[in-house]
Amino acid sequence: MSADLDDPRIIEFDVRTDEMLVNMGPQHPSTHGVLRLVLRTDGEIVSETTPHIGYLHRSAEKIGENLTPRQWIPYTDRMDYLAAMNMNLGWSLTIEKLMKLELPEKAKHLRVIIAEMNRIASHLVGMGAYGLDLGTFSPFLYAFREREKILDLFEEACGARLTYSYLTVGGATADLPKGWLQKCEQFLDQFLPIIDEYHTLLTTNAIFVRRTAGIGVLSPEMAIDYGCTGPVLRGSGVDQDLRRDGEECYTEMYDGYAFEVIVQKNGHYPKDHNYPAVPSSAVLGDCWHRFYVRMLEVMQSIDLVRQAIDRYSVAAGSWGEPVKLTEKLPKGEAYLETECPRGQMGFYVVSDGTSIPWRARARSSSFCNLSVAHELCQGCLIADVPAIVGSLDIVMGEIDR
């Protein structure tokens, strides 16, 4: 040992590190809202991560026990506020499953257009904010520039830009305005080539790849064990997408649509998109793959919206009149999960035969996705914690409800 001490190259031989508790959040910008992480660190190495949640808890489930399902729709908006349309859709479908309500064709296509547009908007925020987490500001501006146009379209359809309450039990609150479809198609035409810009900004960027590839590897078994869903699950190579595998009353919306689940099979992602190659340093299940799955889902959603527009414009029937505000629910219970941008959002309703549910329950996808964070952060560097938590793409409104 003494020989080592004399070695002039070893200058830090005598420097000791102490174990230290570092508090990250709840106001830390890269914790996506009000998440507090307590890190046990030794030097730069994180040995334990404890998430503390609940800062945004509003007891939405208790409120749901005092309102009719249609009155509760605005509260579902405020769960995953970046994908409020998908939240509305999930709750509406659950109630429709309980009521055994069959929707006209046109209403289903309208819902596909709206849900997939919201998925694009949500993934754009996910992408932009992930850039911010890793210390690059410009992708955020590019992402919000395009998201703004989607919000403009939504504003025209329902009057709101964030909390829409547009899709509701029985269909939607209104039909799409005249000329909306053309504007939507124009947006898609203009948006598609821009995705290549995002790929040069982040996906293939050397710094980005160094920061994300091989970091926070989540094995498929662990992902399933922790109940991870959505891009987090598919980023680990598990072939599951509820738009294809879910329950009949949800998948019938996507009947006849051509789409392939975005997941790496036999070392390849689906071939029908023009996309950059996977870097050699990336491992299936790492932060880079989770990000990449989201980026490919944006292209998939564009494709789905185009198909839905074609079907919607020729579909017969009405766009789906909402049910009465105080419509009586049949006695019974129903549970339904839908594929939201952040994973499988489940709603559970128990009814005693009145118009107000006995129990309204929201199963949050981000809640499960975040619960795996402590496993992923085990032994990583402090600087990788935002990279890992950011790649899970959580929304605190949905976790705390």
Binding site: I53, G54, H57, S59, E61, K62, E65, K97, L98, I224, D225, Y226, G227, V238, Q240, D245, E247, G332, E333, A334, Y335, E337, Q344, G346, Y348, V350, D352, W358, R359, R361, R363, F367, C368, S371, D400, R401
Partner: protein, 176 residues
Amino acid sequence: MRGKQFLDRLTKRFGDAITGSNLEALDPWIEIAPDSIAEVGRYLKTEPDLRFDMLCDLTVVDYFEPDPKKAAKVSWQPHLEVVYHLWSVPYRVSLVLKVILPRWKDDRPGSLPTVPTVSSVWRTADWHEREAYDLCGVEFAGHPNLRRILCPEDWVGHPLRKDYEMPLEYHGIRNR
């Protein structure tokens, strides 16, 4: 495989631990005796032709009518239901398990009923059971870290109980 086959399979394996079922419901469910839930869960997860490897949701429903006028009309006795929504990733089927618990342990208001934890079977249950404990007031025996998760640690009461009353004041903040 559908509800009936699952029920037959479980009855054959566990006998008396399967205490009821409703196969006509929208989501067919099977009722399990509280003490056997972890054992049944492990069986459903590991059996090669069942493989219920994902616990989608764990929640509690409180059956209690605080209004005495309405309470006279309801058809059930007051109780709690712990509901487990399972999903099999390889076979893409779902199954619902239920455990019926008394509202209070030994009918002493304030002492929480107990059910064995399933967090050793599905790790999703870790946080979900904490949430159920926090909001619905069910204790999960053997849980590694049963603390409140959404409410502050010094919160009193379990908000999703039907007879819950919001405290008048919390650390000097008026609530009502």
